[in-house]
Symmetry: C2
């Protein structure tokens, strides 16, 4: 019997438990009753312990070593990738004592509702102790792995985007600051004024929901294999490639849920496109968080915020909201949904200011992890940085450091992938435009061609390739952030009628 065949049951067990944990997380964010937290967290803690044993038990370690030694016995690229991913996961968790691993799982399971409560009460102090514990664990866990003396934050970044460290991200964000901060200034002083007041109003929730379902389906989210629900913070998750779940939330701003849904549908379409032989294996998920965000941001921005996209469907939208949009021509609508407006909320930011929101989080994470900044400093530092980069200052924690769920889940090092993903998307976008009549396809509602291109080049592979490999194979060159700068300058230069 091949070592791989003996390894497989462990892999399947680990994936089954991971799938159950994913379902608990989904349920927790979308449905579970208020007081369930503590007891459900104990269940999650126990299951996490089981996961740890299945993913990093002694026998798994031995079998993985044998698989690597018997490389020739691996019969496919998929098997090789599964062994590689399992090895990486083993290295991520092997040195974490089971007790600590379970305690951390319980802690993050409980933290979601603590964060939600703090956010509702606009009181950071409610969340601070849990956050301090989470950071303590995250540093400890990164410490177990940083055996070659890597910086702790670099270890964390590696989980979300392989091959990107503080050094490369500093360069990337430096480029963004150099180019976009003055360009943003120019738009504010020289650009024309855009009216977006009509996007806010009495848009009935049931109609927004109808629109959300229509748009998700229109961009290619398959409801036979997917679900749309409501949560405080929109997100996407999946049990496998035939059960993909997205959420949104409905507010007074119609564009908020509208682009949220297209964004999450982009994530969802990625997961639905992963090959059947990879799903429910460690290779059966997006190549990286950055590549995942590249797809959601591609759908949201390159597709969803294009005037060509709306041409075939704007009448339908107007028909749904005749009072609000009846008098608004298409161009005014697409201008409004692209209005540049330095604001406080990341998920509602325009594309130009978006990466500055991410930059702020990146800088604060560095302070927390590398400089041991006290969590109690976060509100002040957050507000100061928003003032510095965006010229706005939150009036309370709810629109400041409590707006994102990520830290409550222990996701440190995740945020940079939002900006990287946007940059990946721009690089892919320019390449696609060379190969197809992108605007024409949108204008004719032929999104299937675009989706098929993405599936063929990106989605199907899961983690068979890294994001850098995918970029190389798809666009013919390495990651090049200048496409992102160019994209933003061209797009907003045109909309605001300023030279860049």
């Amino acid at each position: 019997m091949r070592a791989y065949d003996r390894l497989k049951p462990y892999m399947e067990k680990a994936m089954a438990i991971k799938t159950a944990l994913t379902l608990f997380e989904w349920d927790n964010e979308t449905l579970a009753p208020q007081e369930a937290g503590e007891l459900t967290a104990s269940v999650i803690g126990l299951l996490s312990g089981e996961y740890l044993e299945a993913a990093a038990g002694e026998e798994v370690e031995q079998l993985l070593a044998r698989c690597e030694a018997e490389d020739a016995a691996l019969s496919s690229e998929a098997e090789r990738a599964i062994v590689r991913e399992m090895k990486e996961e083993l290295e991520r968790v092997r040195d974490i004592p089971k007790e600590e691993y379970q305690e951390f799982a319980r802690l993050t399971a409980r933290s979601a509702s603590i964060w939600a409560k703090a956010r509702e009460e606009q009181n950071f102090a409610v969340f601070a102790p849990a956050l301090a514990s989470i950071i303590r664990y995250q540093k400890k866990f990164a410490g177990y792995r940083a055996q070659k003396g890597e910086a702790l934050y670099d270890v964390m970044l590696e989980d979300y985007e392989k091959g990107f460290t503080m050094e490369s991200l500093d360069r990337f964000f430096g480029l963004i600051k150099t180019h976009l901060v003055p360009f943003l200034q120019k738009i504010k002083t020289e650009g024309r004024r855009i009216d977006d007041s009509f996007l806010t109003g009495d848009y009935p929730e049931y109609k927004q929901e109808k629109l959300a379902r229509f748009l998700a389906e229109y961009v290619g989210f398959d409801f036979k294999r997917g679900v749309l629900a409501v949560s405080a913070h929109p997100f996407t998750t999946n049990l496998h490639n035939k059960d993909v779940r997205i959420t949104t939330h409905y507010t007074k701003r119609v564009d908020s849920s509208l682009f949220s849904v297209i964004h999450e549908a982009g994530h969802g379409i990625y997961e639905m496109g992963i090959r059947n032989d990879l799903t429910l294996t460690p290779v059966g998920q997006g190549a990286s968080m950055g590549m995942h965000e590249s797809q959601s941001r591609f759908f949201e921005n390159m597709i969803g915020r294009s005037e060509f996209f709306w041409m075939p469907i704007y009448e339908k939208l107007r028909g749904l909201f005749p009072d609000e949009l009846g008098e608004i021509p298409l161009e005014a609508f697409t201008d409004a949904v692209n209005k540049v407006q330095p604001g406080l909320i990341r998920t509602e930011a325009d594309e130009l200011t978006y990466s500055l929101h991410v930059l702020i989080r990146y800088e604060i994470e560095k302070l927390l992890i590398e400089e041991d900044m006290d969590v109690r400093e976060i509100p002040r530092v957050w507000a100061d940085k928003y003032e510095e980069y965006l010229g706005v200052r939150p009036s309370h924690s709810g629109e400041g450091e409590l707006q994102d769920i990520h830290w409550s889940q222990g996701s440190f090092g995740y945020f940079p992938s939002y900006a990287l993903g946007s940059a990946f998307a721009a690089q892919i976008y320019y390449h696609m435009r060379e190969n197809m009549d992108f605007d024409g396809l949108l204008a004719r509602g032929e999104l299937g061609v675009i989706r098929e291109y993405l599936r063929e080049n990106i989605h199907q592979y899961g983690r068979l390739k890294t994001s850098r490999q995918i970029l190389k194979d798809t666009t013919g060159e390495d990651f090049n952030p200048l496409y992102y700068i160019r994209y933003l300058k061209e797009k907003y230069g045109k909309i605001y009628r300023v030279k860049n």
Copy 2:
């Protein structure tokens, strides 16, 4: 270290996996997308295998034997009950080969959607092959346990209601037939006519939902610890005593969801009332299926269908549906929701014909398990029995043998507990009436007193006591089905103004 303390981690692991399986089942019935079934079933199969190992592994068996030998070392009634329940579960599953156990779990996970499809298409042939496999497995599993030569169906019955066998159930149903079939005839010929036409109409779904939430809360379902959702077949489940979930469905008949919700809330209140030290242990669930049904039927019928119950809230109901109920006086409404109408659908049956629906299922299950009747015979036998006992004949499988989900889940032996539960409820009801001003409490909306009585005498114990013990301790006598006969004759004699 006590054997019990070494056993405990196995118990906790088994409960954690069982809780995950419960969540998958909930999700499957309420939300999961159509095409998820096959892959999710594979995950469920794997988790079931883990459950089997945690509940019936070799070490668990040894530890349980040691716990029984060291009975004095068990420090509480709860510990003793946990050992007893674990032992029983061990005996239930020990001899089932892991492969078969997992295959059966996958089969039932898939069967839910096969059943739903068959039901929608009103085509029993779609479901028949899956049902035949399920029955094959169930007989095989019962066979592993029937080592003292018990009848297979008796083994199955034992899972739902300890101490009830075909012999006692034949007696019980015999009593029902003897008393109720002629009484039903008398009502049809001598009773007055009751109009219930106004219950069917254009009752908007969003208002029905509002009413459902109001009623659930009014009878005591705590939404901080519970959830209400929609599913094809209303049901209740729970992860623990702080996460209890009920469902309903909305139709053209307003009383359908209305009493469904009160019924499921009754189940839910039972689960919410179980002691904190018992939840998430094998003792932390209702004493038996019969006792569970006694509580749901008690809430639905003794509470919910009483005119006193509606006195404080009927105006609210009328206010919600002024067009439909504005002209209907309270008494006409409560008469209508108690109208006797031999029909095809069990869950919509009045109390008097209800147990005849159950009897039919009981008789068919006996034929399938004990007489090896071919599943393809079911539609004909079903229709013949409905004609014989209720004078109606289904025109298609959807209103016949495909109406209930239970068989698709492998639940053979479950149905009798519906009738037993109704009989338990009647016995408890008469005892309560001797101890409190039951009608007065309902009329004053003081349901808390009734609920507290049930919690104190029944709910809190979980499985610490059997249903027979609970009946004895609560009512001072053994199970006595004559209360049930008396209850139905008194109630319907009064409503229909016939002597019994």
